[in-house]
Amino acid sequence: MNTPTRTSVKVAYSLAGGALLILAAQLIGQFGLAGRAWPPVMDVVSYVTTPAGASLLWRNTLVTFSSAAQGFLLGAVIAVLGAALALVVPIIRPGMDRFAAILHAVPTIALAPLLITTVGREDAPAVIAALSVGFVMFVTMASGFANTSSAHQDLFTVIGANRTRRLARLELPRAVPAFFDGLTLSAPAAILGATIGEWFGAPMGLGLVIVSAMQNYQMALLWAAAMAATIMSLLAYLVFIQLQRVAMRRFT
């Protein structure tokens, strides 16, 4: 009885808060409180609704989305395989942990020259996205694999499970919630990685649009592109957090 009313109050607060924020952003722009660089929200919206603006944003959003999605898939697959390998072959585990920590600490921008030489300007965004995703996924999967309860491990020992069956029937299903945790965390990382890659001379993409709009002082376009990237990231986050809730219900 109590909980639904409380959640609905929370949602109402959040909606009101969101509306308030938009209004504040509009007013700051309208009265020029933050200078010329902060346009009124309505200007940005009206730019997005022009056919030229819409088509420019849409095409570049698609490019960034496809780089981010490719990198997301690649990074997630490699990280899960790596974490599973480290689980099955424990001797390589310390080295891989250390390597993943270093990889995480590498500022992705530092990898850009390396990647442009190796994979080229077109594919660099996807690869940087894959690296950003890969670290997060590796760490969450490694800890997901590590936290199997000792009672379950004992059970599989006494019923005589071999390594593959233990992996398939205990460790993999047990790590499913961690897997979705990792996806939720790394979805924004994929989009960030893709846009960083695009700063280094990719032919298209939101990252490129943002930099060129900044340099050419096209404020409506800059804000619109930034919003497109944000909305993409937000949607990915919201989708994965739902999946993660389902996984939590199903696997625990």
């Binding site: 607060y13 808060g17 960030l192």
Partner: protein, 251 residues
Amino acid sequence: MTRARSIGMGIVHLWPIALLLLSWDAWVVLNGYTSTVAPRPWFVIADVFTGFADYVPSILYTLGMALGGLVGGTLIGFVGAVLVWWSAALSGVVTPAALIIRSVPITALIPIIARIVGYGDPAVLASTMLICFFPAFVFTLSGLAAIPEAGRDLFTVLGANKLQVLSRLGVLYALPNLMVSVRITAPSAVLAAMLAEFLMGTSGLGALFSQARSYMDMERSWGTALVATVVSVLVFVGAQLMERRVESRLT
């Protein structure tokens, strides 16, 4: 015996790095790349050591911006979380704002900040602060939410007000979480500082990197990447040590 053992431990922990250096070198040599395409690792390392004096001002600038942003952003996140914990109505404004800030890629944020604040130190600092804000906010909030009922009941029975609950219980639960957030965001702060420096090209490792690239000085540009990695790893390790200290103190 112990020496052999420590060498063994070194191999166990560091084999991927050795593998990486060797395959980097092999890749350059086998493809016959000249140093304008891709330098060999040994020359890059040599450039870092011989030209270290050139790197120092940039390192200090980036480090200062990253640490300043880390401290500032974490504090703002902490205060924001306490405010939300305090008032349900305020959470209505702060929660959607935090969700949006979480989702904005820094690559989209930095150009806007640079335009609003103007090119220079404040823009770099504002970028690193915004990056560190959200994790600090979320981790503090979850720490405050983890105050056990029993503890709260005890304080209610003792007639404590909300401020006392916060200062005696809340901080105790929030601080370890806050340190986790510092560890997580430390490398991101370095990344954000470098991205901002790269874009604005005024000072710092990001700017050094951008200049080296435009002069086709590959050893310097890869050297900057290497130095930036080391700086970032050191910041991360420092944050990790601090986290352990706080944790052993509080638990």
